[in-house]
C-alpha cells in the first residue's frame, strides 16, 4: 500500500503533458470562413474522460456551434459519433461551452461546425489525450466508504448467524444451545471468509491501480551526447526498472516549421541563458547539430517533436556544457538570449535587446491560472518606433515559450495557439507536410520572409498553475532573430 501511495503521490506531483510539459490545455485561435474562434480545450487527467471546451467567437456573429471528437488519423477518424451542441452563455452570446468524451489515448481532433450570420463553416482543432495522473481519494469519501464497508462485513456476519441459527426453525420456536453454537461458528467462518474477500478486493484494486499507473503517459526519453561541440540526440525509451535505454527510429517525425525538432536549452538554475536550436536528422537513430557558443553550465533541454499521427511530444533532458567547448556561431534560424538571472528580481514589461531594439509586453492587469487570454508583444526599433523591418520567423510572426521557474511547465506556442502546426494541418485536411503550410492562418512560409509584417504578435495561452514563469519570445527583423524575455507572477 505504501508503495502504491508513494506512486500516486509522485504522479500527482509530476504531471507531464505531451505537447508541452505540465501544460495540457489547448489554446487555439482559429479562423473558419468569416468566423474567428478562440478555442480552449481542457483534456481530462484520466482517459477515458470528459474534456471541457470553451469557445469565444469574434468576427461574424455566431448562432450555434456543434462539436464532434474523432481520432486525428486512422479508420475511426472516418466515422464520427453524433455531434453535440455547445451551450451559449446567456450573459455573453459570443461565449460557448461544451464537453466531449475522449474514450481512448492518442491523437484526437475536435471538429467544430459553426452556423451564424455569414452561413455555415467548419474547422478542427487537434487535442492529444493521455492519462496523466491518478486521483487520490479524499478523506471524507474514504471514511464514508470505510464505514459502509464495515457495515457490510458486520451485516453479513449477522445474517450468516441468523441463517444458521434461526432460519430453519419453525416459526415461533426459539433457538436452542446447539443452534446458538452453530450460529457463533457460522459468524466466525463468515467473518473470516468476508475479510478474505475484502483482502481479495483490496489486492484487485491495487493491481488495477498499478496497471492504470503503468498507462500514465511518459514522454520518450532524450539522451544528449556532447563530443567537442557536436551534440547528438538519441530518442528512445528508458526502462526505469532495468536502467536501460533503447533507441527508437526517428523516421516517423514530421517537420514542424521546417524542422523535425525545436530544441530549447535553458541554463539552470537562473534561466539566464536560453537557446532555441534546430538539430537535424543525422541517421535513423539520432539527430545532430553543432552547438553554438554557450556559457558553461547545466542546461535543461526541452525538445518538441511531432509524430506522423499528429501526436506532439516534448522530451526533456539535462545537458552539461563544459567551459572548453570549441566556439561556433549561432545558425541563421536559431536564437538566443542572456537575460538577468531569476535571482536578480522580476523582469519588467520592456526588454532591451542587444542591438538596440526593444520588445514590449502589453501585460494584462491580472494574470491568473487557467484563464485563456491572448498575450501580445510588440517589437520597437532603436528609435522606439514600431519596427518596420519585422519579418516572419520560421514562417510565423513569432514563437513563444512559457516556462515555469520550477521546471514543471514548458509550453512552446505560436500565434495560432498551443497545438502543434502539423497536427493542425492533419486536423484540417492537410497531409501534414510543409507544402500545405501556406494555407494556414497567420503563416507566411510562401513569401520566404521577404515582405515585412506587422511588428506585433499575439499568443493564445493560459498558465496551468499559479507561480512564477519566465516567457521567451522570438521575433525577427531584417535577418536578426530577437529573443525577448519577460517574467510573470501568476495568481
Amino acid at each position: 500500500m505504501k508503495r502504491w501511495l508513494a506512486l500516486v503521490f509522485t504522479l500527482a506531483l509530476n504531471v507531464p503533458a505531451y505537447a508541452h510539459i505540465g501544460s495540457k490545455d489547448v489554446y487555439e485561435e482559429v479562423k473558419a470562413g468569416p468566423y474567428k474562434l478562440f478555442v480552449t480545450i481542457r483534456p481530462p487527467n484520466v482517459i477515458p474522460g470528459v474534456a471541457a471546451l470553451e469557445v469565444r467567437s469574434s468576427g461574424a456573429p455566431v448562432r450555434s456551434i456543434s462539436i464532434t471528437p474523432t481520432p486525428l488519423t486512422g479508420e475511426a477518424s472516418k466515422h464520427p459519433p453524433t455531434s453535440d451542441a455547445m451551450k451559449s452563455s446567456t450573459a455573453d452570446p459570443a461565449f460557448f461551452t461544451g464537453s466531449l468524451w475522449l474514450m481512448a489515448s492518442g491523437s484526437w481532433q475536435v471538429h467544430f461546425d459553426i452556423d451564424g450570420s455569414a452561413g455555415k463553416a467548419s474547422t478542427s482543432v487537434p487535442v492529444a489525450a493521455m492519462p496523466l495522473s491518478v486521483l487520490p481519494m479524499e478523506r471524507p469519501l474514504g471514511i464514508l466508504l470505510a464505514l459502509l464497508g464495515v457495515l457490510l462485513v458486520v451485516g453479513m456476519v449477522g445474517i450468516a448467524a441468523a441463517a444458521v441459527g434461526q432460519s430453519r426453525l419453525n416459526p415461533g420456536v426459539a433457538p436452542g444451545p446447539s443452534q446458538r453454537r452453530r450460529a457463533v461458528a457460522a459468524s466466525a467462518i463468515t467473518l473470516a471468509v468476508t475479510l478474505l474477500l475484502v483482502y481479495g478486493g483490496y489486492t484487485w484494486w491495487n493491481a488495477e491501480a498499478i496497471a492504470y499507473a503503468g498507462d500514465i503517459y511518459h514522454p520518450l526519453s532524450l539522451t544528449p551526447i556532447l563530443r567537442g561541440n557536436t551534440l547528438d540526440l538519441k530518442i528512445g525509451q528508458y526502462d526505469d526498472a532495468r536502467h536501460t535505454f533503447k533507441s527508437r527510429s526517428n523516421d516517423d517525425l514530421l517537420p514542424d516549421h521546417g524542422h523535425v525538432m525545436h530544441l530549447y536549452a535553458i541554463r539552470q538554475p537562473g534561466m539566464d541563458a536560453v537557446f532555441h536550436l534546430h538539430p537535424a536528422v543525422a541517421s535513423d537513430q539520432r539527430l545532430r547539430m553543432t552547438l553554438p557558443s554557450m556559457p558553461p553550465g547545466t542546461y535543461r533541454l526541452y525538445a518538441d517533436i511531432v509524430h506522423a499521427n499528429g501526436f506532439p511530444e516534448t522530451l526533456t533532458a539535462d545537458l552539461i556544457v563544459p567551459a572548453n567547448v570549441p566556439p561556433a556561431p549561432l545558425a541563421a534560424e536559431d536564437a538566443s538570449a542572456m537575460p538577468p538571472a531569476l535571482s536578480q528580481g522580476e523582469l519588467g514589461t520592456t526588454y532591451k535587446l542587444p542591438d538596440g531594439y526593444t520588445m514590449v509586453w502589453d501585460r494584462p492587469q491580472d494574470l491568473s491560472a487557467n484563464t485563456a487570454s491572448a498575450f501580445r508583444f510588440r517589437l520597437l526599433d532603436s528609435a522606439g518606433q514600431p519596427a518596420a523591418d519585422t519579418r516572419p520567423y520560421l514562417g510565423m510572426a513569432g514563437h513563444a515559450a512559457f516556462v515555469k521557474t520550477d521546471g514543471t511547465v514548458f509550453a512552446h506556442t505560436h500565434p495560432e495557439g498551443s497545438a502543434s502546426m502539423q497536427a493542425m494541418m492533419l486536423a484540417n485536411g492537410g497531409s501534414g507536410e510543409m507544402a500545405d503550410i501556406g494555407t494556414m492562418g497567420g503563416m507566411d512560409m510562401n513569401s520566404g520572409g521577404a515582405q515585412p509584417i506587422a511588428p506585433v504578435v499575439e499568443f493564445p495561452y493560459g498558465f496551468p498553475s499559479p507561480g512564477r514563469y519566465r516567457i521567451f519570445i522570438q521575433m525577427k527583423h531584417a535577418s536578426t532573430v530577437e529573443t525577448g524575455v519577460f517574467d510573470a507572477e501568476v495568481r
Binding site: 484520466v46 482517459i47 477515458p48 474522460g49 470528459v50 464532434t68 471528437p69 474523432t70 481520432p71 479508420e75 475511426a76 477518424s77 466515422h79 464520427p80 459519433p81 453524433t82 453535440d84 468524451w101 474514450m103 481512448a104 484526437w108 492519462p131 491518478v134 486521483l135 481519494m137 469519501l141 464514508l144 466508504l145 459502509l148 464497508g149 457495515l151 457490510l152 451485516g155 453479513m156 449477522g158 445474517i159 448467524a161 441468523a162 441463517a163 441459527g165 434461526q166 432460519s167 430453519r168 426453525l169 419453525n170 416459526p171 415461533g172 478486493g201 484487485w204 484494486w205 488495477e208 491501480a209 492504470y212
Partner: protein, 399 residues
C-alpha cells in the same frame, strides 16, 4: 387492511391454521414488489449493456440506470417496511416467521436484500470516484461494479429466500400457495441464470465458443444454480424452467431492442450503428438443463457426490454436443437475420475483428481442447455438488 390480509397464509404460523385456509393462495405485496425489483434490475442490466454498445455515453440518469436503481429503491422500501413491522409492530405471525439480526427482526431474505441495498448504495460513490481516478467505464468487471453486482445479487437472493421460506411453510398444507410461490421462485431463479450468464459473457461470445474456456466458465457457473434450484424449489423441471427464462429473456432482447433507434455518441466509432444493439443469441443451455432434469429424476436417491460427479460430465457433454455445431451455424450466413441477431455489432467493433469477420477467435484444438473440456466437466461436478448441498439446506428454511 386487517393484519391477516397483510400477512396471508404464506407468512402464517402453523398454529394459525384457520387463517391459512381462509387466505390461501394469496401472495403478499412485498413478494410481488421484490420480484418486480429483480425484474427491473435484470432488464436495466441488459439495457445498460446495450446502451454502452450502441450509444456509449451515459449519465447517472439513463433509463437503463434508472431501471437498475429502481431495483434498489423497491427492495429498500420492502426491507424498511418489513423490518419496521416485524421489529416494532404487533404482528405476531410476522414476528414468529422472522429472524433476529442485532436486535432487528424480519424474514432472513429481507436482511439479505437489505444488505444488497447497502452494497448498491456503497457502490455508487465508489464507482463515481473510480471513474474520476481511472477513467470512465472501460471494464465491466471493476471493483465498484463487482460490489454493485454483488449488491444486486444480494437483493435477488434475498427475494428468493423471502419466497422460499413462504413456499417451504406452505409445502405442508397449502398446495395452491406452494405452487404459485414455486413458480415465482423458478422465475426469479431464471433471472439469476440470466445474471450468471451475464457474468460469464466475456468468455461465451459466439466467436469464442470453440474455446474450452467458454465451457469451463459455464461449467463453473451454471450447474450450481441448476442443482440448487432443483433441490430448493422441489420442481422436477427446475433446471429446464430456469434455463427457459434465460432463453426467452435474451431472445426477447434480440427482438425488441433493435426496434429503438440509437446512434453512437462516443468515438472512436468503427461501425455505424443506427439502432440499439442487443445481446448475442442465447447459449443453448436448455439442452443440458433438460438432460440434468431427466437425469435427476432417475438418480434422486443417489448420494450427492455420485449425482454431482455424473451430472458434471453429462452437463458438459450435452452442452458441447449442442453448442459446438450451433456456434458454427451462428458464424454462417444462415444465421444473419433478426431472430439469431448475428447482424448486430457494437459501434466500436472493428472491421478486421473476429466478431465482424465472423471468424473463430483463437479456437482450441486437440489435447488443449480435450483437457479443457475434461476440466470443465470436473468443475461442473464440483459446482453441482455445492448446489446440491446448499439447495438441500435451503429446503429447510422456514423464516
Amino acid at each position: 387492511m386487517s393484519t391477516s390480509a397483510n400477512h396471508p397464509a404464506a407468512f402464517a404460523s402453523p398454529a394459525a391454521g384457520a387463517a391459512v385456509k381462509a387466505h390461501s393462495a394469496r401472495i403478499p405485496w412485498y413478494v410481488w414488489t421484490g420480484v418486480l425489483a429483480i425484474t427491473s434490475s435484470s432488464i436495466g442490466g441488459a439495457w445498460d449493456v446495450s446502451w454502452h454498445r450502441s450509444i456509449g455515453r451515459d449519465t447517472f440518469w439513463t433509463p437503463a440506470h434508472m431501471a437498475i436503481q429502481a431495483c434498489g429503491v423497491l427492495a429498500g422500501v420492502i426491507c424498511v417496511w418489513l423490518i419496521a413491522q416485524a421489529t416494532l409492530g404487533h404482528d405476531s405471525e410476522l414476528k414468529a416467521a422472522s429472524v433476529n439480526v442485532f436486535g432487528l427482526r424480519a424474514p432472513l431474505g429481507i436482511f439479505l436484500a437489505g444488505w444488497g441495498c447497502v452494497a448498491v448504495l456503497t457502490s455508487a460513490p465508489f464507482d463515481n470516484w473510480w471513474h474520476n481516478a481511472y477513467g470512465l467505464d472501460v471494464k465491466i468487471v471493476s471493483p465498484p461494479h463487482a460490489l454493485l453486482i454483488l449488491g444486486l445479487r444480494g437483493i435477488s437472493t434475498g427475494v428468493m429466500f423471502l419466497i422460499l421460506a413462504a413456499m417451504n411453510r406452505a409445502a405442508e398444507n397449502d398446495e395452491i400457495t406452494f405452487k404459485r410461490l414455486q413458480r415465482l421462485l423458478l422465475y426469479v431463479g431464471g433471472l439469476a441464470v440470466v445474471g450468471q450468464m451475464f457474468f460469464v459473457q466475456e468468455y461465451t461470445w459466439d466467436v469464442e465458443l470453440h474455446q474450452a474456456a467458454a465451457y469451463i466458465a459455464m461449467g463453473i457457473g451454471l450447474p450450481l444454480f441448476f442443482a440448487l434450484f432443483w433441490q430448493a424449489s422441489r420442481s422436477r423441471w427446475a433446471a429446464t424452467s430456469t434455463s427457459i427464462v434465460y432463453t426467452v429473456f435474451i431472445i426477447a432482447e434480440i427482438l425488441i431492442l433493435p426496434l429503438f433507434p440509437a446512434q453512437p455518441k462516443l468515438g472512436p466509432v468503427y461501425n455505424t450503428v443506427t439502432h440499439m444493439v442487443p445481446a448475442k443469441f442465447p447459449i443453448l443451455i436448455v439442452a443440458p438443463a433438460l438432460a440434468l432434469d431427466l437425469l435427476w429424476q432417475r438418480v434422486k436417491n443417489w448420494k450427492p457426490w455420485q449425482i454431482a460427479l455424473l451430472s458434471g460430465f453429462v452437463f458438459i457433454a450435452v452442452l458441447t454436443a449442442v453448442e459446438w455445431p450451433f456456434a458454427k451455424f451462428l458464424l454462417s450466413d444462415a444465421s444473419k437475420n433478426r431472430f439469431f441477431g448475428t447482424i448486430y455489432f457494437q459501434y466500436n467493433s472493428r472491421a478486421d475483428g473476429a466478431d465482424r469477420l465472423r471468424q473463430w477467435f483463437h479456437p482450441d484444438h486437440g489435447i488443449v481442447l480435450y483437457t479443457g473440456l475434461l476440466k470443465a466437466a470436473v468443475f461442473a461436478s464440483i459446482s453441482t455438488w455445492i448446489g446440491l448441498l446448499f439447495g438441500r439446506w435451503m429446503r429447510g428454511v422456514q423464516r
